[in-house]
C-alpha cells in the first residue's frame, strides 16, 4: 500500500509535479505512461524517496517515507532508476550483492547468497556474473541493475523504464516476471513504460501523466481509447482489438 498525497516538486520555481495524489493498493502491477518530460521519473523518485517533495508526502504502509529510517524503508521498497551508471569497478555479482545491503550490511549470509543467486538466475546473468559492468552491453547492464533491485527482495518495487535497451525476449520475460511477483507474491510493483501495448497487456492499472499531473488512472480497458491517447501524445493513435487484446497503432 503506497500513498502519494498532494505531492509537488519544483525545479527553479517551475513545477514538474503539481498536486499529485495517488493511492496504490497492496499487490498488483501499475504502469505509469505519458510523454517525455511528463514527470514520470520525478514522481517515481519522490515515491522512492530519492527526491524530497516540495510539498505533500508519501507513505508506505502507513510509514512516512521522509521520516522513516533509511534501512527500514530499503527493506520494504526498492527502486530502479532510469539512468544507472556507476563509477566504481564492480562485477555483476558485486552489484547484485548490493541489493542485500539493507538486510545484511555488507556481510552476506547464506540467505543473502541464495537471494543473489536467485536474482542472477532469473535475469539469465549467470554466465556474466563475474564480468565487470563496463564489459557488458547496454541491455546486459540494465538486467544487472534489475537483478540488484530484485535481490533487495522488497514488498514494493518501483522500476523506471525497466525495459530500456532490452530485446523482445528479455522485455517479455521481465514484464511477466514482475506481473507474477505482483499476483502470486502480493508485491506492489510500479513500472514506467513507453510501450502502451505492453502496459495494456500486462498491467492491472495504468496511470497517465502529462505536464506534471495525473490525467487519468484506471484499468487498461478504460484508458485504451483512441481519442484520449491521441490527445495525450499529440499524435494520431487508433485502438484495435487483436488476439483478444486492445492494441494501439501509431
Amino acid at each position: 500500500m503506497i500513498e502519494v498525497e498532494g505531492v509537488e516538486r519544483r525545479y527553479d520555481g517551475v513545477a514538474v509535479l503539481s498536486e499529485v495524489t495517488l493511492s496504490l493498493p497492496k499487490g498488483g502491477l501499475t504502469a505509469i505512461i505519458g510523454p517525455n518530460g511528463a514527470g514520470k521519473s520525478t514522481l517515481l523518485s519522490v515515491m522512492g524517496r530519492l527526491q524530497k517533495p516540495d510539498a505533500g508526502r508519501v507513505t508506505l504502509e502507513g510509514m512516512h517515507l521522509a521520516q522513516a529510517p533509511g534501512r527500514a524503508v530499503a527493506k520494504k521498497l526498492a527502486m530502479l532508476r532510469q539512468d544507472n551508471h556507476t563509477a566504481a569497478r564492480l562485477t555483476v555479482r558485486d552489484l547484485v550483492a548490493f541489493g542485500r545491503y539493507p538486510h545484511c550490511r555488507g556481510n552476506p549470509g547464506p540467505e543473502d547468497q541464495a537471494q543473489i543467486d536467485r536474482a542472477l538466475a532469473i535475469l539469465g546473468l549467470e554466465p556474466l556474473a563475474d564480468r565487470f559492468l563496463d564489459q557488458l552491453s547496454g541491455g546486459q547492464r540494465q538486467r544487472a541493475h534489475i537483478a540488484m533491485v530484485l535481490a533487495q527482495d522488497t514488498g514494493c518495487i518501483l522500476l523506471d523504464e525497466p525495459l530500456n535497451n532490452l530485446d523482445i525476449s528479455h522485455a517479455v520475460r521481465i514484464i511477466t516476471l514482475v506481473r507474477e511477483a505482483a499476483q502470486a507474491l502480493g508485491k506492489t510493483v510500479v513500472v514506467v513504460l513507453h510501450d502502451i501495448n505492453m502496459a495494456a497487456a500486462h498491467c492491472d492499472r495504468i496511470v497517465v501523466m502529462k505536464g506534471g499531473r495525473i490525467l487519468r488512472h484506471g484499468t487498461p480497458a478504460e484508458l485504451m481509447q483512441a481519442d484520449f491517447l491521441s490527445a495525450v501524445y499529440e499524435t494520431p493513435i487508433s485502438v484495435h482489438e487483436l488476439a483478444g487484446r486492445l492494441v494501439a497503432v501509431y
Partner: protein
Amino acid sequence: MSPEIRARQITHRMALLALLALLAAAAFLLLNARGSWDFLLPFRGRKLAALAVVAVAIALSTVVFQTVTQNRILTPAIMGFDALYVLIQTGLVFGLGAGRVSALDARLVFGLELGAMVVFALLLFRWMFGPAARNLHLLMLVGIVLGTLFRSIAGFLQRIIDPDSFTVLQDRLFASFNAVDPGLLTLSALIVAGLALILWRLVPELDVLALGREAAVGLGVPQERLVLGLLVIVTLLVALSTALVGPVTFLGLLVANLAYLLLPTGRHAVLLPAAALIALITLIGGQALLERVLHYDTALAVVVEFAGGLVFILLVIRGVAR
C-alpha cells in the same frame, strides 16, 4: 577471471604490499647506521612514526574523499589546503615576529592550524554539497582560486616582513619530517588511529556510497549525514598531517590511484588498507632510499610531489581525452 582467482590475486598483492612496507621500515631503521644505536633507534623511530602517521592519514583521507565525491582526480589537499597552511604560517610570523613564533608552544600553533583548516574545509565542503553547487569542475576551480588568493596574500606579507623573519618562515614552510614534536606526534597518531577505526567500521557504507548518491539513498544509507561525517573525518586527517609536517599535496593522489590500479575491486575493505600500505612504502621507502642509499638530504616531499604531480597531469589529460 573467476572470483576465486581474483580473490587470491588480491590476497597475494596485499601480502606483497605489507611485506614491502615492512622491508621499507626495516631499511629505514637499520641501514647505514653509524654511531650508537641508543641514539640512532629512538631518533629514527620517531621519524618513522611521523612518516607512518602522515602516510596513513593522507592515504585514507584521499580514498574516502574520492569515494564521497565520486572522482579520482581531486584530493582534499588539492583544494587549497597547502596554500592555507602557508598563509597561516606567514600570518603568524608577520603578526608576531619570527622570535615570538619560534618561542610559541608548538601545541598551540598546531591547534590553531588544525582549527583553521577544519573550519575552512567544512565551509568549502558544505557549500559544495549544498543544494546549489554540485559541479566538480566548479569546485576544483574554487579551490584553485582560493589557493591562489591565499598564496598571493601570503606572498604579499612575505615581501614586507624583515629578511630574518623570512628565513625562519621559509624553514617552516617545507614539509619536514625531522622536526616533529614528540608529544604532538603521539597525539596525532592516536587521533589517526581512532579515525581509521571509525572508517573501518563504515566500510560497508563506503562501498555503497561509491555507487552514487541516489543508489546509496535507495539502499537506505543515511547519505547526507554520512557524507558530512566522512568529510569531517577527511578534513581532520588532512589538517592533522599538514599541521604535523607541512603540505604534501600530491601524495594522496598518487597512492589512491596506484591502489585502484593494483587492486581491481570496489571494496573499501581492500582499497583503504592497500592505499595506506602504498603510502607507507612510498614515504618510508623513498626516505630510506634518499637518505641512506643516495645520501641526499633533500626533502623527500619534493620527489613525491614531482611523481604525484605527473600522475595528476596524466589523469587530467586522460580525463580530457575521454
